[in-house]
Every structure is written in structure tokens, then in C-alpha cells.
């Protein structure tokens, strides 16, 4: 029986470079941000933001707090621009509409901070200006 194409058996050009690893500290910061949002800890959420983004982040945290309470969080998507990471996260809870947020994390003074956020709850996509 001929090999009809299991990829691992196919000879051909092999990748010339490795995938860039995702920094675990960044993922940790992303999960913490979502955790604080889920628990409505507005001040803690704000503390994770850079100075210029603090007001925006506080508004987002307030919006999450007013929408409902959440007991589950998940990272839905992740993409990067150089060493800044965009993360799409979803908060869910019983009887509460899911809260979807997209935020950018980048290092500042050795710590992962939130540089900007987009509230995607009720939005069709993130083509927001």
C-alpha cells in the first residue's frame, strides 16, 4: 500500500527556522489581568496598565464589573507585533453574557504591562479604529 500522504512521512523542504516561543511570564500576566477583570478588582486591573493606558483600562474594568460576575476565563487568541502581544480573552459566568476583551501586553521596566485594550463585547469583530 503506497503512502498517500501522512505529513510526517513526506520528504520535502523542512522548516528553516523555529517558531518564536511565547514568553510564559507574558501568559502569566495575561491570565492575571483576566482574573482581576473577572473578579471586578478595578484597582488591581489598573495597576497592570502603563500610565497612558490606565484610564482606558479602568473604564474596561468598570464595564466588566457592571456586566456581571464571572467564574471562568480563557485566552481565545494571541498574536504578536515584535515583542508586544495582542490577547483576546473571554470571561464567562452563569447567567451572564460573556465579556470579551482584546488587550496588548508589552514589557516595561522588566514587567509585562497592558498598553491598550478593546472591549469586544457586543462587537462583530475588532476592526475598531
Amino acid at each position: 500500500m503506497p503512502d498517500l500522504g501522512f505529513r510526517k512521512n513526506v520528504m520535502g523542504p523542512q522548516p528553516i527556522a523555529e517558531r518564536a516561543p511565547t514568553p510564559p511570564e507574558m501568559l502569566g500576566a495575561a491570565k492575571q489581568f483576566l482574573e482581576f477583570l473577572a473578579k471586578g478588582k478595578v484597582e488591581d486591573v489598573g495597576a497592570l496598565a502603563i500610565e497612558n493606558a490606565r484610564d482606558e483600562v479602568n473604564r474596561l474594568a468598570e464595564a466588566a464589573r457592571q456586566t456581571g460576575t464571572y467564574n471562568q476565563k480563557r485566552i481565545v487568541a494571541l498574536a504578536r507585533i515584535n515583542r508586544h502581544y495582542w490577547i483576546k480573552g473571554e470571561l464567562t459566568g452563569a447567567g451572564t453574557k460573556p465579556f470579551i476583551v482584546q488587550f496588548r501586553l508589552g514589557e516595561q521596566d522588566g514587567r509585562w504591562k497592558v498598553w491598550e485594550t478593546i472591549n469586544l463585547t457586543n462587537a462583530r469583530s475588532a476592526w475598531t479604529r
Binding site: P13, P15, I16, A17, E18, R19, A20, V76, A77, L78, A79, R80, I81, N82, R83, H84, W86, K88, Q102, R104, G106, W115, E116, I118, A123, R124, S125, A126, W127, T128, R129
Partner: protein
Amino acid sequence: MQKFLPVDKLARPENYILISLDRMRQARMDQGLTPFNAMPYEEDFLKARLHGICAGEMQAMEAAGRTLFDFPDAPWEFQLDMARQVWDESRHTEIYMKLLEYVGSYLGEFPESEVLWSCTQVDDPACRVAGINRGLEGLACDVFEQLIRLAQKMGDPVIERAVDFVLADEITHVRMGSKWMRKLTEGDPERLKRAQEFQDNIDNLFNFSGGRTTQEQAAQVRQKLGEKEIEFDSTLTIAREARLLAGFSEEEIERLIKAASRSAAY
């Protein structure tokens, strides 16, 4: 089904990161980079450039399909050409997804911006083909010609040939655009002028602050690609030969070069 689909209605899986070009530029500037897409001297250049092209091919596929749907009264041959282009762009998307794997990346590693789709937002098929087929596909000729030269310098026949195959199609798309821009505006010089102006706007949008130039005049910078260190263009060049093959006139190419050297669109 809605015609003239706005940017915020473009469908993507939920595990995609979509952001506007403004936000993409801001993220780059916050890291001390130029606001443009990854430049040839950057570490991530090859991955980011191939990723941008792959997303562009997807949007080009959607745009050609949308052109078919948005203009049901256009000539049958026009519709056939657009259908053919959908087929081409879907193959290109697959080719670039494979190339992403080849350079250690994957679709979704970088965000996708709306900038190419925004160039479809016009309700005249003549403007649509002028903007997409002549403006954007002309830009694709420039980008692909440069990638082919880069691959040649790297000694990488996989990227060189794959991109060359795609470039051959893009040349036919530009020709298609030129043909239909002329045919659809026959006897209507005002409409032709509007189509050309729409294309000019798109050309200006991608001129990178006047940083673009010809291959011969591009400054060379050292860069490391994998294990190799090479000298290469410091900016996106204008591919005179590929554009001539695609049917652009010498005069049009000269105008583009002059506009590129004085534009401040970025």
C-alpha cells in the same frame, strides 16, 4: 446578503486577532520601530512579511468574490475574470500558509489589519478593479519581486520559486484590471478619471513616507536571516520589470516613483 461589505463585517474565526492599521502602527511605534510593516532589516521581517502577504491574499480572495456579488450586472466576461481571481487567490493563500510553516511561523502569529479591505470600499466596478487589480496587485508585484531577490540572496529555492509562481498570477491580475478599467469606462472619460484617482489614492497610501525607491537606488543594509547574513534593500522597492510585464506604462511607473519620493502618506 449585504452588498459592499464594510470592514467590520468581514468574517474570521474567533481565534484570530484583528486590529486596525492605526493600532498596528501604534504597537510598532511603542517599541521604537517604524510605523510601517516589518522592514527588511528587522529580525522578524521574513515571518511578518509573509504573514502580511498571506492575510492580503485572503482579503484579495474575498474582495474578488465580493466584486462578483456586488456587481451582478457587470459583463459576463468580467464576472468570469473575477471568479478566476478568487480561485487564484485561494491558491496563493495556501501557498503562503505553507511558506509560513517553512519559515517557522503560522497563520495567526501576527495580527491582521483591515487596510487592504478598506481599499475595496467603492461602488463602481471600474474603481474597484483600478484600486484592487492595478493598485494593490501592482503593489504585490513590488513586494513579490523583492522577496524573490531576497530568496535568491539567501540561496533559498523554495521561497524563490513559490513566490515566482504567485507573481506570475499577480501579473495577469493587473492586466485584467487594466483591461476592465478601460472597457468599463469606454466613452466616459469622467468615470475613467475617477477610477484612476481611486488607484492613485491607494498607490499613495502605500508609499511609506517617500521611502520607496527603485531596486537600483535602494540603500543596502546588512541583515541576518537564519544563519545567513546578507546585504539587502533598506525599504520596499518598486519592481519596474514586473510592472512593465503587468502592463503598466513607463510613464505610470515614473509617476509612481516620483510620488513615492515625495509622499508623506505614512
